[in-house]
């Protein structure tokens, strides 16, 4: 029986209306603003692509773009490797797998702000900073074996703007690994056991089994994981904002904080909107390229 068109429209209408009002229309407005010079208060003036031209001449934006790239490549590569490793270990049913799964996934139930605050405390240079306390504790041992790197370095100001981007990497890895581990584990668990049995009969080691059975069969999910990570690191905002006390510097800005600062601190609407449009374009292109490069005929099993 054919479903009546009115019925379909009735169910589509609410979602479509919300999408148009809260996504499509604001996105279109952002695109329009990006072509204007406007302080949000006076009359907007059309300036064409000048905001975009200025963006590529602006050290603040280019540095922020570089910081996003560091977060994406640095945290992304380690996260994906670790989550693949942990997922494989879980898949092989190591002892305590369920406990590890819960422990690794735990950061995902916390809000991004809570995670940033936890790490801020851990990095603190006061007596409450767990990481500096740990370094302080191991310093005599290091000195005893002739390593003096920590002699004059403690407490180390991890959240000083100069070091913040690098200090964010462990936090991002800690937060994201559990999510990607669960994602990859689900994909691994859908692989029929028969393939592994065949591989074992052929004398394949666990590592060869991973490369020749597991990896090809989870490739599509891995691609999705990479796309997720690219998107999340491109729009990264919360931790920088919290750890910099809403006051990022050129050394710690990422694209989203530049966007916020341009719009809400400097009231430069057009420029801020241009950052948003470029951010969207970057995510869109990177996602398309990632999907394109990893496109192979899907394995069916």
């Amino acid at each position: 029986m054919r479903t009546p068109r009115g019925f379909i429209l009735a169910f589509l209408a609410p979602a479509l209306a919300l999408f148009c009002v809260f996504v499509a229309w604001p996105s279109l407005r952002a695109l329009i603003y990006s072509l204007q010079r406007w302080d949000g208060l006076g009359t907007p003036e059309w300036i064409g692509l000048k905001n975009f031209q200025a963006l590529f001449e602006d050290d603040l934006f280019l540095d922020a773009l570089g910081h996003n790239l560091i977060l994406c490549l640095g945290a992304g590569s380690i996260t994906l490797v670790l989550s693949l490793l942990f997922a494989s270990l879980m898949h092989r049913r190591i002892r305590g797998a369920n406990l590890f799964r819960v422990v690794f996934f735990f950061p995902n139930v916390l809000s991004a702000v809570a995670i940033a605050l936890i790490w801020m405390f851990m990095y603190s240079t006061t007596e409450f900073g767990a990481i500096n306390a740990l370094l302080e504790w191991i310093r005599p041992g290091l000195q005893a074996i002739g390593i003096h790197a920590l002699d004059d370095a403690l407490p180390f100001p991890f959240t000083d703007s100069k070091y913040l981007i690098v200090a964010l990497l462990p936090m991002m890895i800690w937060t994201a690994t559990g999510f990607y581990m669960v994602l990859f584990l689900a994909a691994m668990q859908s692989i029929p056991e028969a393939y592994y049995e065949a591989a074992r009969l052929d004398g394949a080691s666990p590592i060869r089994q991973f490369w020749h059975v597991t990896f090809p069969m989870i490739r599509e999910v891995l691609t999705v994981g990479i796309v997720f990570f690219v998107i999340s690191s491109a729009k990264f905002f919360d931790a920088v904002w919290v750890m910099e006390n809403q006051n990022p510097t050129p050394e710690s800005h990422v694209m989203a904080t530049v966007l916020y600062q341009k719009i809400f601190t400097e009231y430069n609407m057009g420029y801020g909107a241009a950052v948003a449009v470029l951010l969207f374009a970057l995510v869109f292109v990177t996602t398309a390229v990632t999907l394109r490069l990893s496109r192979k005929e899907a394995l069916e099993f």
Binding site: G6, A13, P157, N245, N247
Partner: protein, 455 residues
């Protein structure tokens, strides 16, 4: 089942979901009977409890006048209000100068206090405008009109715990060299000489630099910077001030200070892990919940450097906690009335007693109404022949966050020389002046000679 009815029902639901919230918000509570005047207060070092009690008292006293104050506060008022200002739906009265007040003035988005200042001061003998202490209304004056009035007197001072000083036999220094010697002594006893609120370096670090700039170069140096003179930061006096600042930062600031928030560093200070801290008058009120009971908080002005051109009695200060009325306010007259009530000779002593605010009104804060910590501030105010301040932070927010903040951080870390610091600051400022599309308000220079300084 009639499908067209289902279609209609879903469409109606969709429309309701889109329009419903705004429709409900568009009906202000009690619109028919009482005008609700919305007041937004930045919940910073002074909190909002006193302001809230004043609003309640004001409402009781004006119960029959057809309006009432609804006051709220938040540490993130600026973030909350920015979108509301942009969409033309602001509160009627705002206390938060972290908003871009100059930009709002330039865009014609604020109502001047001219008429309100001509009215009598609440509980005073003069007009409200005449009741303010000298210099307190200068910060946001444009074309002879005052667009924002301060609710507090602000001064930049060095704070210490007199009990800790007494126990260690340390003396309050009278000169810069004595100050550095004191820092050496403190350090030798295993205590950090100075705590720094490193995460707000463009405020706390900057203000300390401005104090040194005045000491080294006098009001002439302050005038050069305020007048946006090219090369103002590369002037030998400004470079000298930067060198003093760098020495202080690299040798005497608490380790890891650049990574500390203001609460972290202030806790370090009140718990005697650091002996001194540069801060405004709000320090005592902001930290009162965390201060040990036996602390004896006191303050002193930055001691004069060798060959100082600045009069060391001058106070680095300004009005602060600024109140302003947006042009899009629904009830501006009622907002002015509440502002006049809030900042009044009648309630200034209570404000000092309750939250440690020194009034911006001349003689508004009787000595008996303040704590010993604030008494030390009042002494500095009484001694000062005048006050000075630099206006760049409010005038050029993009210079503050993109140039000055980075330059000060680099100077403090010892990554650039004082000369390079001056060049960076000058180049960045010149760029901001050139690129800004906002009108720059004219500057009336401080009269150096009137304060016993060389012009």
């Amino acid at each position: 089942m009639n499908l067209s009815r289902i279609t209609c029902a879903f469409s109606a639901l969709a429309l309701l979901s889109i329009t419903g919230c705004d429709a409900i918000r568009a009906i202000p509570s009690g619109e028919d009977s009482v005008r609700v005047v919305e007041v937004a207060i930045f919940e910073g070092g002074y909190g909002i409890e006193w302001h809230r009690s004043m609003a309640e008292q004001f409402n009781r006293e004006h119960a029959d006048e057809g309006f009432r104050i609804e006051l709220w506060g938040d540490p993130r008022t600026a973030d909350i209000l920015k979108p509301r200002l942009l969409r033309g739906d602001p509160p009627d009265l705002i206390l938060d100068e972290r908003l871009p007040v100059w930009l709002l003035i330039a865009a014609g988005k604020l109502v001047p206090f001219t008429d309100a200042l001509a009215r009598p001061a609440h509980g005073g003998d003069s007009s409200w405008g005449d009741a303010f202490a000298t210099g307190m209304l200068d910060m946001f004056r444009s074309d002879g009109q005052v667009y924002a009035i301060p609710a507090a007197y602000g001064a930049w001072l060095c704070w210490y715990d007199a009990r800790q000083f007494r126990e260690h036999g340390w003396e309050v220094p009278e000169t810069w060299d004595a100050f550095l010697e004191l820092c050496d002594t403190i350090q030798a006893e295993g205590i950090a000489p100075i705590a720094l609120q490193g995460k707000y370096i463009n405020f706390y670090g900057w203000n300390t630099y401005v104090s040194l700039l005045h000491s080294a170069g006098g009001l002439a140096a302050i005038n050069r910077v305020n007048a946006l003179e090219p090369g103002a930061f590369s002037h030998p006096d400004a470079v000298r001030a930067a060198a003093f600042m760098q020495e202080l930062a690299t040798k005497y600031f608490q380790r890891g200070a650049l990574a500390m928030t203001h609460t972290e560093s202030q806790l370090q200070f009140v718990n005697n892990h650091a002996a001194m801290i540069f801060c405004g008058i709000w320090l005592e009120n902001e930290m009162k919940a965390s201060m040990p009971p036996d602390i004896e908080l006191r303050s002193f002005s930055l001691p004069p450097v060798a060959d100082a051109r600045g009069n060391s009695a001058m106070l680095h200060g300004q009005g602060m906690e600024f109140l302003f009325v947006p042009k899009d306010a629904r009830y501006p007259e009622e907002a002015f009335e509440f502002a006049r009530y809030l900042v009044s000779p009648q309630f200034a002593p209570d404000m000092a007693r309750s939250i440690g605010v020194i009034s911006p009104l001349a003689g508004g804060t009787p000595p008996e109404s303040v704590t010993p910590a604030l008494q030390s501030v009042l002494n500095a105010i009484d001694r000062a022949p005048g006050i000075y301040n630099v206006r760049l932070r409010t005038l050029f927010p993009e210079w503050t966050t993109q140039v000055m903040q980075g330059a000060i951080s680099a100077l403090f870390r010892g990554e650039i020389t004082p000369e390079e610091f001056g060049e960076r600051m000058d180049a960045g400022l010149a760029r901001s002046v050139e690129q800004t599309e906002r009108p720059i308000p004219p500057y009336t220079p401080y009269d150096a000679a009137a304060f016993g300084e060389l012009p």
